[in-house]
Symmetry: C2
Subunit: 652 residues, 2 copies
């Protein structure tokens, strides 16, 4: 229980603002801080450990190597040239790493993370202008003037990430140099873009969510007001449309009247996250309802089986309703993270566990898919179908977007690695909430919960589980007050047939929330059994791109057929599956998977249609042979060298 133990060692108690990325106003559900909950193993424990041991250093090394951190030194030294290394938004990568370091230090007390953060803070602080403006790409020397390219300049976007880094710091160690830098930057933004300032927004939302949470963390209503102002301004055509139109940056329609997310996915979702914050802070039921409606419409018509969002490479954006091609799925890792941010806020605002269902789906099948097992390479895009095997060179190079089917160590636009880092460092924050009389466990993993109820009485729970590989989730009471308390668990939407045993034997429970309210003694157990056996999943028949296909899920894990598991000589495009023959559990080199029967289409005799085109009269059935197929967890694909892969399998 490293986190909780270390948190105790550093003397921080159950501070109501302690170590939580999102803290809405007090309500029925209080998110737990890093000092109240810790991962104690399992898939997410391993990912978090690897993040701490490898990814944080990896990100710092790459940004030093490429000169993105030194950009701050050049501004401080007054040696800035018109051109500088990195895209205009490279500052934000430094800030996201700082946020990850702050959370990591908050989680474990890591002295190396703290030292790295202090070093970076000093370099960043030295680049701040006297009036608080802080950006290495604009406004110094011969650079373009401040805020002269709001569409593409990403200045406010970068500042938003600075503010989120400061939120992590103020909630783990209190106000330090980083927080002071962020305060001054936020004040400059409020002065420049406040009610009496320029009526403008940034082409890439992010300042909104940074201002909202920093306002909460510091008790500074001006920041929340500014966030609300930015949210309300958008959708009124303040930005000059680029090649992808106003929808690309959600400037086509106000947040309050939009019905679905559209345009650039990360932009849409960062904006939506901030809009939930604004709705909650203002008790704005209409705005919250609009966002809930957008979530429902987007999930129903524009979301992949993995939870991934964004089906277009061209603009990294949502496509039309039902346009969900598996092979060209963009499903950017950052869009997955942004989706988690939105769903988590909607859960906190409403208590509807559908939002936690999507958090789980997205965490396991998008976020967990990005980092390589060693934490030093990443997927940027997360397609559900890889047609051609990658060149191994991808693993050694700065990659455009890692579209090639292998994780890459760094990217030209490298938003994903640092986003993964800050998310993994806080994974357990999304796992549970405290209520006045108990705790709700939303994400199932080996966890230690050391919280206190509203009256200050401790409620300590250990969760033991092999989930998601197995479906047994055991909640053991370590300490509880001598009165009835409530322990609730999420039963995922797919988990028909789940059972709960709180001492009186297993009883069936329905998907949703299941709660046990009674007096607990130390050693008491509540056992939830989720049916994680592999199951077949079909698409709505309006999802044209996967018509005639079936996918296999195992509990919350989407599985995939990867070419390295096929018999020699069999190409993945020639495999068809027998859905009627069922699917069964199977061990795989990547953990629990599934086995099913299929056929291989023999192509020797297949002729193209008239004119050499692949179209013609209905062809006679090709020669087939039977084959056993093994499916692996999608999140682990491409860990065994270049391969082809598909999640959606055509039926025979």
């Amino acid at each position: 229980v490293t986190g909780v133990a270390d948190a105790r060692r550093t003397g921080r108690g159950a501070d109501p603002t302690g170590g939580r990325p999102v803290v809405p106003p007090p309500g029925e559900r209080r998110p737990l801080g890093l000092d109240e909950i810790a991962l104690t193993g399992g898939l997410w424990g391993r990912l978090q450990d690897t993040n701490a041991a490898a990814t944080l250093d990896h990100c710092e090394e790459w940004m030093e190597r490429l000169g993105w951190i030194a950009n701050f030194d050049r501004v401080a030294a007054g040696t800035t040239a018109p051109d500088r290394p990195g895209w205009p938004f490279s500052d934000s990568e430094v800030y996201k790493l700082m946020e990850a370091l702050a959370w990591e230090h908050g989680r474990t007390g890591s002295a190396t993370a703290d030292a790295a953060l202090r070093r970076l803070t000093a370099r960043v602080a030295a680049a701040q202008d006297a009036d608080g403006y802080l950006n290495t790409c604009f406004g110094h020397g011969e650079q373009r003037p401040r805020y002269s390219d709001l569409e593409e300049g990403h200045e406010l976007y970068s500042t938003g990430h600075l503010l989120q880094a400061a939120v992590a710091r103020v909630r783990t160690v209190g106000e330090d140099d980083l927080v002071r830098v962020a305060r001054r930057a936020a004040d400059q933004v409020c002065a420049a873009f406040g009610p009496d300032g320029r009526a403008a927004v940034c082409g890439h939302p992010e300042i909104e969510v940074g201002l909202a949470e920093l306002g909460r963390a510091l008790g500074e209503p001006r920041y929340l007001d500014q966030a609300a102002l930015f949210v309300e301004r958008r959708g009124h055509g303040l930005l000059r449309p680029g090649p992808f139109g106003a929808a690309y940056f959600q400037d086509d329609e106000p947040v309050r009247t939009a019905t679905v997310w559209r345009g650039h996915a990360v932009r849409a979702l960062y904006l939506a996250a901030a809009a939930v914050d604004v709705a909650v802070e203002r008790a704005d039921a209409g705005l919250l309802a609009a966002l809930e409606g957008q979530w429902a419409a987007t999930v129903q018509r524009r979301t992949y089986l993995t939870g991934g969002m964004g089906s277009q490479h061209q603009d990294e954006g949502y496509g039309d309703d039902w346009a969900l091609p598996p092979d060209r799925a963009y499903c950017e890792t950052c869009a997955g993270i942004a989706s988690v941010m939105v769903s988590w806020r909607l859960y906190l605002a409403t208590g509807d566990v559908r939002y936690a269902d999507l958090v789980e789906r997205t965490m396991l099948n998008v976020v967990a898919t990005s980092p390589r097992a060693d934490g030093r390479a990443f997927f940027y895009a997360n397609p559900l179908h890889q047609r051609s095997a990658a060149s191994p060179a991808v693993e050694d190079e700065v990659n455009a977007r890692a579209e090639g089917g292998l994780r890459a160590p760094w990217f030209d636009v490298s938003c994903c690695p640092t986003n993964v880092a800050r998310t993994l460092a806080t994974w357990q924050s999304y796992a549970a909430v405290a209520e006045p009389d108990g705790v709700t466990l939303l994400q199932h993993a080996p966890l230690a919960v050391r919280t206190a109820l509203a009256d200050g009485e401790p409620l300590h729970l250990d969760v033991e589980t092999g989930y998601p590989e197995d479906g047994d989730v055991v909640v053991r009471v370590v300490a509880a007050p001598p009165r009835p308390v409530r322990i609730a668990l999420r039963v995922p939407a797919w988990a028909a047939g789940a059972t709960l045993d709180d001492g009186a034997g297993p009883r069936p429970v329905e998907p949703g929330l299941v709660a046990v309210r009674r007096r607990f003694a130390p050693g008491d157990e509540v056992r939830l059994v989720l049916p994680v056996a592999p199951r077949l999943t079909w698409p709505d028949d309006r999802v044209d791109a996967v018509r005639g296909c079936v996918a296999v899920e195992r509990g919350p894990v989407v599985l995939a057929l990867e070419s390295v598991d096929l018999p020699p000589g069999v190409a993945i495009e020639d495999v068809r599956v027998h859905a009627d023959a069922g699917v069964r559990d199977a061990p795989t080199p990547l953990g629990a998977g599934a086995a099913l029967r299929g056929t291989v289409t023999e192509r020797g005799a297949a002729a193209p249609g008239p004119g050499g085109l692949p179209y013609g009269p209905r062809a006679a059935g090709p020669v087939l042979r039977e084959v056993d197929l093994t499916l692996v967890p999608y999140h682990g694909w491409a860990e065994r060298g270049p391969s082809t892969m598909r999640v959606w399998l055509p039926e025979a």
Copy 2:
């Protein structure tokens, strides 16, 4: 017979180089000039007339309005600024219009086309540097230096189109000012990039095909040599890869060893066209075989039912094998034209009518789809599935790429309108070839053929047909020598069941070429009957994106279901068709179409899957109702206002 009559009036006879876009060295197949063949009506006659009456002026007006033509005036006046209107390649649009004007004058003797061309020639010529260099974006005043951005600068690309304009002129009126300008520009290119010059290529192939044909037209082997040098240099990594890699500009693999077309489709196809020219000029059987192999592989695995090529918006490029999504099909109009250029050259080189089959498919279903009926708006991309209806505003604005489902008057990158214009002005050039003892009719349309055989004897034919709406093609002999001659006709690959009657009654003929060799008297007829009744077409089951769907073709015309033809309240995504119930002929507002039975899925009761996602257990069949469906020619869709549309129809 306007063209032929006017050609006679202007005094040009059957000059062996007269009015043909492509003239390979003398061989078995001699393409006919604009003075030997003319359209006399029909679909293509209407398109050609509209091009002459509206599109040529339309293009000139837009380029004046946007300042693209005035760019030449500014260079001539020495008033060039670092920035100028238009993309770097906007000069090429002026040249393509000039080419279209030259062909139009050659075809009809139009004095207005000739005058427009002369005016433009004077303005272009005034901008030419003393050493022959001619470009309005580089090399003058504070502009970037000549050839300083070969990857994206498009200087040689633009020059290539200048040379193609000059080819049109030299083959219709002989050497004039435009031809002299082009000669000097070509000489400058040869000096700069010849064997003793810089070993480089242009990021966008086009100079190669321009040099090759100008070399043929002027009998200048240096130009052909330079074309060959550019072709051979490519594929050796001479260009700095951009975000889409070296394959984007075909610099990943030499033409000679490549196995399939890849990267940016127009780039790939312009290069291939030039490579065929080089192979033919050099009698390079290995190079020709490589190109034939690339054609076959690309047609089998990377080509749409319409003949369209390029499935990715992001890079306007080919995707992986079998990645042919109908909704995100890019199928750029220019790629269709470029594909025609390649296939036509391969036909001339080999006599294989498969190439003419693809010319027909692409002309009717891509090229003819682009222009609106009034010739003043165009499709840039030609998807096979439109999910959301366009905003009518598209029709009035300069459009990014006309992705919105309506034709647009002009584009930010406006390569397609002028490309359509030059292609329509020469459509009949692709319709027939002369052989030593006869004529082969490749494209069926109302035509007047007034050619001479190798011995100088006239062979005059009139083709009368309602094709493609009906399948009767009647070839009537107007004049023929008093000895056996050969009249051959292409029987399209889809036309199983065709019959031919050369006077002795109809007899079955197989797809391919059917030839009649006998002595003909004036008034003799050869009648080919092609079974154009609507037929169902299925995709190869590796084309994942249209699995479970069927398309309807009618003769060579791909049909589409357009929402304006659906019963009120029926959404196109809810329609399923009964393929087993067959398909029958039906008149439509857009000409001959088809009718078939289908069902409408009632969505009222349809619930999303677990978690609100569109995935879950196999759903019970939704409530259905029967419906009659009418399909229209795809090339006419979106002529009746904003609509949704699909070519591939899911089966019930």
